[in-house]
Structures are given as C-alpha cells and as structure tokens.
Subunit: 587 residues, 2 copies
Amino acid sequence: MYRAPVDTIAFTLKHSAGFAAAQAEGIYDDLGDDLLEAVLSEAGKFAGDVIAPLNRIGDQRGAVFKDGAVTMPPGWKEAYTAWAGAGWNGLAGPTEWGGQGLPWAVNAACIEMWNSASAAFMVGPTLTMAGIDALAAHGSDELKRTYLGKLISGEWTGTMQLTEPQAGSDVGLLRTRAERHNGAYKITGQKIFITYGEHDLTDNIIHLVLARLPDAPPGTKGISLFLVPKFLVNPDGSLGERNDVRAHSIEHKLGIHASPTCTMVFGDNGGATAYLIGEENRGMACMFTMMNDARLAIGLQGLGIAEAATQQAVAYARDRKQGRAPGMPASQTTPIIVHPDVKRMLLTMRALTNAARAICFATAVAIDRQHRAADEAQRRAAHERAALLTPIAKAFSTDIGSEVSSLGVQVHGGMGYIEETGAAQFYRDARIARIYEGTNGIQAIDLVTRKLPLSGGETVRAYINELRGTVAEVEASNDPAFGTTGHCLGDAVQQLDRTTSWLLGKIEREPDTALAGATPYLRLFGLAAGGCALAKDALAAQRAGNPGSSVAIARFFATNIANAAAGLAATVIEGADALSVPPDAIG
Amino acid sequence: MYRAPVDTIAFTLKHSAGFAAAQAEGIYDDLGDDLLEAVLSEAGKFAGDVIAPLNRIGDQRGAVFKDGAVTMPPGWKEAYTAWAGAGWNGLAGPTEWGGQGLPWAVNAACIEMWNSASAAFMVGPTLTMAGIDALAAHGSDELKRTYLGKLISGEWTGTMQLTEPQAGSDVGLLRTRAERHNGAYKITGQKIFITYGEHDLTDNIIHLVLARLPDAPPGTKGISLFLVPKFLVNPDGSLGERNDVRAHSIEHKLGIHASPTCTMVFGDNGGATAYLIGEENRGMACMFTMMNDARLAIGLQGLGIAEAATQQAVAYARDRKQGRAPGMPASQTTPIIVHPDVKRMLLTMRALTNAARAICFATAVAIDRQHRAADEAQRRAAHERAALLTPIAKAFSTDIGSEVSSLGVQVHGGMGYIEETGAAQFYRDARIARIYEGTNGIQAIDLVTRKLPLSGGETVRAYINELRGTVAEVEASNDPAFGTTGHCLGDAVQQLDRTTSWLLGKIEREPDTALAGATPYLRLFGLAAGGCALAKDALAAQRAGNPGSSVAIARFFATNIANAAAGLAATVIEGADALSVPPDAIG
C-alpha cells in the first residue's frame, strides 16, 4: 500500500525545484519549513490512510450511471467529504473566499500524493481547482460571491467542458450554442468526455462550458466561457431549481473507472441557464487559465501513479524469491531485487519518477513566482518559465506514468497481468494522462511553436544555461560516486541546446519540419532537465550530509537514461526529412 | 476491421527473411510460390472473416468459469472447429500423423495473421502446436499413436504446465509430484497460469506437465515431463474415464479475456494418471523443444497485435478530421494523418511492426533450415542462428506489440481510452506477451549468457557480418530516396558489434556486469537487425520494380528509430557500473 514519501517530496521541492530559494527571497512571505512539512505530512497521511484504500474498489465497482444519476463507489463520498472538510480542496485557493492561500508548489506536492493514492479520485478536484482559478481570474464579482466559496470549500465541484464529438484537440470546431436571454444566457448542445460531469459527492456541480454565440466569428475567436450550475442558486445561497443540463451516459473506459466520464446534454427544455465568464468571444483566454494549471495537475497525476507503481514494484521485488545470485548454493533462492535485470527496471522506475517530480515541482514554483514575485520583470520571466515548463511537466511526466507503470507490471511477472495485484490498474489508469488536457502531441507542438519563441528564444536559452550550471557543479564536485554523470548530462544539455537552436531556425520558415520533431524534442528536453534536477538534488543532499541514494539515482539516470539525448537530437534534426512522405504511403 | 496484409507478409518472408533463398537451395523441396501464396491468402481470409469478428465479444464476455468448467464466449467454439477442420492447426505438423508438413516459416506467417485477428484465440493453438513438437520429438511411439493425430487435427488441444506459485521464471523450484505407478505415473500438485487449461472447444485436453519424482535431484535436473490427458483414452481411441485433474479457477486478467488462464489441481483422488515423455529427470530438455517454438509464436503474437493496431490507427487517422495543414483556410479541417506529429506516430507503428515481422520470419526460416538443410554443418549453423534470434524475436516483437498498441491508443485521442474503439483492447491484450513464455528480461539474459557464446561467438559475428552486407548494399545503391539510411544503419551495426564484443569479454568474468546490460542490448540488437531487414526488403522491392513505400519505411526506421543504437550501446558499456548499488538503495 502507498506511503507518501514526504521527506523526498520536501527535499526535491526545496532544492532542485527552487522552493527554498524562493522562500529566501521572500516570495512566500513568512511561510516556514515547519508549516510546509506539517502540511505535506498531513496530506500524505490522508492520502495513504483514507484515499489509497479506496482505489481498488473504485476500479472494480466504478462509477455507476442510472437514470441520469451517477453513483460513486462505496466509501468515496465519505472520503471526499472528509478530504474537502479538512480544507484540502482550498489549499491554494484565495483567502478572501475561504482558501488557505498557500503556494501552488505546496498544493502541487499534495496533488502528487493524492494522485498516488487514487488518480480517479484526484482528477475531480483537479478540475474544480482549475475552475476556481478561471473564476477567480475572470469571473464577475457576483459570480465569485455566489460560487467561489463553495467551490473552494469543495462543497460543490467544478467541470471543464470543451470537447464535442467533432471538436477534440481542435476546440475551434465546437458547436454548442449560447443565446442571450434576460441578461444571462441559454445554452443548448452536447459535450463529451466530461470528467465528473455528474456524481453524488456533492449537492451541486458547477460546469464551466465553452459555447458559441449566434453572431460569433468562426474558430477559436468566437468561443465564450460560461458558468452553468447543475442547480440554480437562489439569492440567499440555497439551491433552487434544477438547470436544463443532464448527464446522458458515462463511458466504459480502460482505467480510472471511478471517475465518471460523462456525455452532457444542455437544453432539453429550451436551454440551460448560463452566466458569462469574462467577455464574449474571449472564452479561450479564460480557458487557458484553467488549462495551464490543469496541465500541470495532470503531469502530477502521471508522477503520482509512477510513484505508487514504483513503491509497489520495489516491495514485490524484495519479497518475491526466484533464482540465485552468482555463487549462491542451488538450494537457496534470492529476492528478485538482486537480479541485475530487475534492478535495472526498479532503478529506471525510481529515476524516471524522481525526474518527473523535479520538473513538475519546478513548474509549480515558477507559477508561484509569476504571481508572487516582487517586480513585474521577475513576474514576467517567471510566467514565461512556467509557460515553457508546463508542456514538459504535462507530457514528460505522463509518458513516465505509463512507462513506469508498465515496468511495474513487468517486475511482477505473471502476477502483474492479474488484476488483483493492482499493478495492472496503475498501467490502465496512467494511460489517460497522456491524452486528456491536451494530448502529449499537442503539448510538444505547444512547446516548439509557442514556448521556444518566447522572448525571442531567451526564455529557453536562460533555462538551458541553468542546466549547464548544474553540469558544471557536478563536474566541479570531482566526486567519484558520480561516475560519468557530468559527462553524460553535459552531452544531454549540449544536444538540447543545438536542437533548440535548430528548431528556432525552422519554426517560421518550415513549420512542418519543426513539428515533425516536436515529440522527440520534448523527450530530449525532459531528459536533460530531469537529469540535471536529479544531480542538483544529489549535490544538495551531499552538502546536507545525507546523500542517501540520491547520487546513485542521479548517476543511473544520467548514464542509463539521459544518454538517449544524442539519438533524440539526431531524430529531430536529421530524421525530419523521413516524415515528408505522402499520407497515402503510410498503410 | 483487420485485413490480412498478405502481399507484404509474402514479400518479407521471401526476401529479408530468406524464404526465397531457401526455396532456391531446395530446402523446401518443390514448394512453389503458388502454393505459398494460396496458403497465406486463405489463412488471411479466415483470420479476417471468421476470427477477427469474434475478438471483441471475446474480450467483453471473456471465458467464464463455473463448477470446474469453462465456457468460451459465443461463437468461439464454432470458429475454432471451423479453423481446425480446415486443417490450419496441422499446417506444419508431421505428415505421418495427418499434418500438412508445410514449413514453419509458412506457419509463422499464418500465426501472425491469426494473432492479428485475435490473440486470445491464437494463444490456445500456439500451445497445442508446441506440445505437438515436444511429443513428436520426445514421445514414445505409443504416446504418439494415441495423441499426436488428434492434437494435429485440433480435435484435442494441448497445454504446457510449468508454473507453480513459488516457481515462475525459476522452474527448478517446482514441487508438483509424480510417483511411479503400474508402469505409468500418478501426479499430485497444483499449477497456475495454465493457458487454455480448461475450455469447451474440444472434448479432450492433453496436458504436458512438469513434475518431480520422489528420488529426483533438486533443481532443474530433477524435473520430468509428463502427458496427462483430461480424459483417459481407451485402446480403441475413444474417451474413457475422467482423469484426476481439474481446473480450480480462472484468473481475472488485464487482457486476453477469452483465453482461460487456469489454476489446475492434480490428484484430488490419489493422483492423475500420467505418461512420461522422454526420460525421467530430462523434462527440461523436452520442455525447451516446446518453449523455443512457443517463444517465436509469442513474438508473432506481439507482431500480430501490432499489425492490427497499426491498421486501425491508420484508418482512424484518415477518417478523423481535426485542425488544418499549414496554409489551409480556417473554414476547413484536415484528416489528422497529415499532421506531422500524427504521421510520426503512424510511421513509428508501421516501421516497428514491419521490423518485428522481418525478425520473426527470419527466425522461422532458420528453424526450417535447422530441420531441413542438406548437411549436418548447415543444420547446426541454422540451429544456432535460430537459437540466437529466438529471444530477439520473442522480446523485441512483444515490446513492439505494447509500444505500437500504445501509440494506437494515442492516435485515437480520447476515443482511444474508451473501450468501444478496440484500441484499448490491443493495448491490454499485448501486455501479456512480454511476460509469458519467459519474460523479456529472461529472453535478454538468455541472449547474452547462452546465445552470444554459441560457437565461441562466431554465430553472432556471422550474423552481424550479414547485417554489414546489407548496409553496404544500401550505401552502394546511391539512391537519394534512402537519405542517410545507410549511415544510420552502419552506425547501428557498428554499435551492435562493439557491444557484442564487450559483452563476450564480460560474461564469464563479470556476469552481473554483462547481465546489467542484457535488456538494452537486446533492444540494440533488434534495432540493428530490424533496420537492416527493412532496408533489405526495400532494396528487393526496388529491384522488383515496385518499391511502394518500402524505402520510406526503411528510411524512417533508420533515421528516427535505429539511431537510438549509440545511446543503448553506451548504456550497456558505460552504464553498467551505475547498477552496482546495493538493493537497499532502491526505494
């Protein structure tokens, strides 16, 4: 069973992710280590003690749809109520609406743990939190007064409604219709793949819905964002009549069975009452506020599942006895963890997981700096850093969630394929995170076409220079325990640098050539960034006099994983021509 | 829906896999292209028309266990009966027992197609065929007379029973007990994970069971192989009384739901009647006869699923419209296949699938040569070639089955996570193939410790020299359509060569150092071998005046996939030290 690795989480957050530096600079006011550790420790305890035990029954029973209502699995409502009641949903929410106003970085660390306990559980609050951000940033005072407190307390949950059958990655194709009506709006249409679109955890659900006004221009410039409550809210805050929106059905999915994925129907009886968020036709901008936080949160989901799968595989490999170590008598057997091949799998799981954590947390600290830094230039630089890292946090970490949970199945051997061990559930649950909140392909395209060009390429170059600084520190340490870590990471950063320059030169003139390499480039970025972060934490752990296994993990990552960098760079730069085949040739 | 790519299969079989060369040398007697193509075409038709339509209901309903009996999904018994009735089960079976005596290579091509149609269907006959091999090679005349004909016709099926709860990869730990009794044996014990251990497709099931005699030495040297029929067979061939063996339960698995995975109990009433195959305590040698063919067949399962997943993803990507190609007006949308990132996924799927096919088929041709070549030296060389390639065919192809089916899910976006599209079923079904018939880790260990040292390393060196020959041919072709294919493949082969030499120098003196790199080495081997095979087929297609997309696929593989070779070589050679951490450091 999952146990939250609170110390490791706190260490990575403080060191490679830069939380301690931000503290020292006063970004976090007077938030001290005591509070930080207390929060992480309590969140971890809740994750392990309350949420994790519900993950399996959530998978087995799943959310059940009947007559328009969704019944959550046994124990889920109680756990959610306790979780929200403890204030966890509002951890990073604004204090003026009852939130605790803690840094997003602290929230991110907690989101990891809750996802380790149950991704199907945590994906609901993830969307509520994203909705809170959008409403706080773009909502009218009246909307905030009516909805924000209840969303922050978790008494009500939120949804994020973009997708329609013909409009997935291409949101601009959506057709859901909004008409002006008595100072508000009426919405008619259908949405699909709506996470927690209907459930029985709370007595109201607040839908944030993208729709199109009759006179809106086509494409993404004609999309507006609306708030559509399941139950209308009376002026005194009590619940009024049922709005004209309903769940039509839920999907039968590969994983996260307890997360109800709904088809939503608006306007059976003339249209669902809706309230505009922000300005008409500016819905995409509001939605991007939600999406960036949600993307990091989905990266944390990949990370969380990877951590849980790693813990389970390590425990299994310590317990399961098969074969002998060299020189062992034939009558004995050894735990499989001593076999080099199994060790490779476990080290890969651990190193990838830790690298994903470092990247996600660094992204969260950048998000905090973008809101909290003292001057505008710092906030702007932090905003661009967060923007740069978000697609990597999302895509790299969720790829890792799948890869690590697949290795987890493999470590279990035949038992891994049997559902009762839980290894297969991690494998199934992790798969969605590479798809939703923007597929990982979309993340890679975002990285190459929108993030690399930020500030004329200076944003990414400044980041790469920081990585180079870490490489120099490793080399300067002259510690033989690092082996060839410095050399391997130096090469990875160099490959990232040259590939970045090459892409920056291609984006405008040959977009398809640049886009052809987007996915391997994102992977290369993740390897260089993750490898340097692990080395940075290892150096910090050495300085703190408690290196533990951090040097060994950093070394393994650099010399066994990050050395894929040169091949990836070659794929981006020299491989793109091979994609210029006509689509008909692919059959 | 799956359509068998008969032409592609025939081309790869004939060219890179060496079937045509073997034909020309007389290895296949007078087997002509007409017969070959007729067989492949009929097998493909059966796969697409009869088996494929049952794959989904097999997944949804699964095999059902009740009161010791297993009921197969609707339509499965009819399909199996028709399949066996058409003689497919005995395609490569010995003619003296009613088989058709066709080459294993032809059978392998058919096994790919049947696995594309339904892996859960084909894994049953795969084990029957392996049992036929073991019985034909090691069984007494009486056992052959009683069982071989019915197994070859498919009127009865076979199982392969090694695993016990404490004995998985470490077969030597098995405890199932055999006692001598009236000239035969009585077996008592329990086996787990027995594929098609019980079902209602046929009226008898012939279990091949590993067990230990009371006076047997410990470990693998004290294991004997027994034949245990579900129903005893009367002297006239009719079925007699029920034997003392039963299915206790079936597993709830991640995938291949229609394949009943049974826990088998022997000896509720004093012991199951059993007949020795081969000699006492020599069971492992007999079992290896089964396992090598079964390993290739499982490689073909990975390949088959990859092919089916690729076909479905390509069809979806041609149909699904999202976004615009550069320069397209905003009012239009394009099939997603034109987007470079999607194209990369589809080309990766196609190239990996074709590479796996080439390796599997080359292994099958080597197996044929080992049995059919004219002189002993040729048979011996072919035997070692088959032995060398088998772990690669198994592990590389099944890794590819998972990777390709995962990309298939990704191409479908959100729809890929919904079970109704079938993309997720491929992903679930494919995962087992990396585990059973020897985990892919075991395959890698087998490759490094047993196969590289064959003939003092000459077997692998001769193979690498052949790869070098292909590289030289590509370079000599001077065809600009190949781009940097020759250069990239040359590097991959060079990396394979140096890594092989390094490993050969380590196996004896530092086994753990060699074993640490076994898995990345096997991948490197697969990339070099697969890349050269695709180039060889492309050259052959050019010579035949019909290159189609073969050059583009070979080029993509070389310049976008096989260029991982240098990183993998570095992992094996320079990364091994990073694994010398104590197991306690991995947490």
